[in-house]
Each structure stands twice: as C-alpha cells, then as structure tokens.
C-alpha cells in the first residue's frame, strides 16, 4: 500500500518522499509510543524494564559482576556492538573466575519476545515453564529491555510494577527473581 502512496506523492510534486516499508508493526514491535485508541490488550512493552545491565562479549566477568550487582541485578544481557542480544549471564556464571571473558560463560541465544506481543498469553507460558525473565528485543534482535514475570503479573491484576520492585525482596530499589 505505501509504495503506491509514495509514487502518488511524487507525482503530486513532493521532492523528498520516503517509504517506511516495515510500517506500524515494526514501530510497535520496537516498543515505540503510539497514538490513537490503544487496544485494551496489554502488551509486553507495558511492563518492560529498559534498565537491565548489559555487557559486551569480550569484557572481563569481574567488571560486569561489579556493575551488575551495584545496579541491584543478579544477571545481565550480552550485546554486540550493534545492540543485538547475543547471550545472557545468569547468577551461576558469577561463580566462575572473574578473569574469564563474558563470552566464555554466557548462555548464547536467549529466548526473546517482541514488545508488541500480548502480555497475558506470554505470562501464562512463563508461569508454566517457571520462567522469571524474558528478553525483549526489536525484530532485528536489538535489546529493548527485559520483562519480569512478577511485573507482568502485577500489571495484569491492576497493580503498578514499581510495587513489585519494592515488595519482591523487601528492599526498595532491588529486585530478586522468584
């Protein structure tokens, strides 16, 4: 549809015509804001936390550990120079030698979801599998943030995700996966 519109605009004398071919689906999947009557369906983007610690594959584990724990997290995501998620560092990795590089201990290819996915069905799947956290990326794999199951559950029941952040381990500003 948009290629035909772009051609018409050129015919009408517009000098700089661009076609955003990926369209609104791509925009929503990236978690960018939209205007209009939003669906009553709650989306992954509604509960995504963008502040998850990140690391590059060639970093030393010790530096990542310090940065991650200082931020109140017990895991980090590994991204390449383009921001694409390439791995995940869970707490078990911290027990390794701090001198190892991230790529030596990370779990490659973590499961990812799109920001415009419906929240309810995803949470059901997370509950069944005992998954506490999933990574949210654009369709191209670029990191947007993470979805914590506890955040999503609270949002679906009408409570603020921020309350969970505080209530989860009784220590404001820190979160611990259940």
């Amino acid at each position: 549809m948009s290629p035909r519109a772009a051609c018409r605009l050129e015919a009408f004398g517009f000098e700089q015509v661009y076609d955003y071919t990926p369209g609104i689906a791509d925009w929503k999947a990236a978690g960018l804001p939209i205007e209009g009557e939003t669906s009553e369906t709650q989306l992954v983007s509604d509960a995504t936390r963008p502040d998850v610690p990140t690391a590059s594959p060639d970093e030393l584990l010790g530096a990542v550990l310090d940065r991650t724990t200082d931020a109140g997290w017990d895991e980090a995501l590994v991204i390449d120079c383009d921001g694409v998620v390439v791995g995940r560092l869970r707490s078990a990795a911290w027990e390794q030698n701090r001198g190892l590089r991230v790529e030596e201990v990370m779990e490659p290819g973590p499961t990812t979801v799109r920001a415009n996915a419906a929240l309810g069905p995803l949470v059901e799947r997370m509950e069944k599998r005992g998954t506490a956290l999933v990574t949210v990326t654009t369709p191209q794999g670029v990191l947007i943030g993470v979805l914590l199951r506890t955040d999503a559950q609270q949002l679906l029941t009408g409570e603020s995700p921020e309350q969970i952040w505080i209530d989860c381990d009784g220590c404001p500003g820190r979160w611990k996966a259940r």
Partner: protein
C-alpha cells in the same frame, strides 16, 4: 525517487520535521499510529488531500 527507509532513518527524519502520512484505512489508523502522523487513506490520496502539505519538506508514508 522514493527512498525506502527503516525505523532508524524514520526517527532521524522526524527530528528534521518530516511529515508522516499513514495511508492505512481510518479504522487501522484509529487503533494506533505513529505520533503526529496524518491519516490519508490510500484511496483518498489525491492532489486535493495533500494540497496543504509543503512539497519541499520530507514526507514519510507507511
């Protein structure tokens, strides 16, 4: 000549004041569109519909 762009280029064009045209049907536009986008459904996209737009500014359609 029409240039196909990705999201990053669109964001850059928005910073430059580009006009965004949503050519989807009104119902789809109403259910969510890029902030600031104007809705001119494709079947209504004629010279009269775009008469008020500046022809020397970048226009992005989707």
């Amino acid at each position: 000549m029409v240039t196909n762009i990705d999201r990053y280029a669109l964001l850059s064009l928005l910073d430059q004041g580009a006009v965004v045209l949503d050519v989807l049907p009104e119902s789809e536009y109403g259910s969510g569109h890029i902030p600031g986008a104007l809705n001119i459904p494709l079947r209504g996209l004629d010279a009269e519909a775009v008469a008020g737009l500046h022809r020397d500014k970048p226009v992005v359609v989707y």
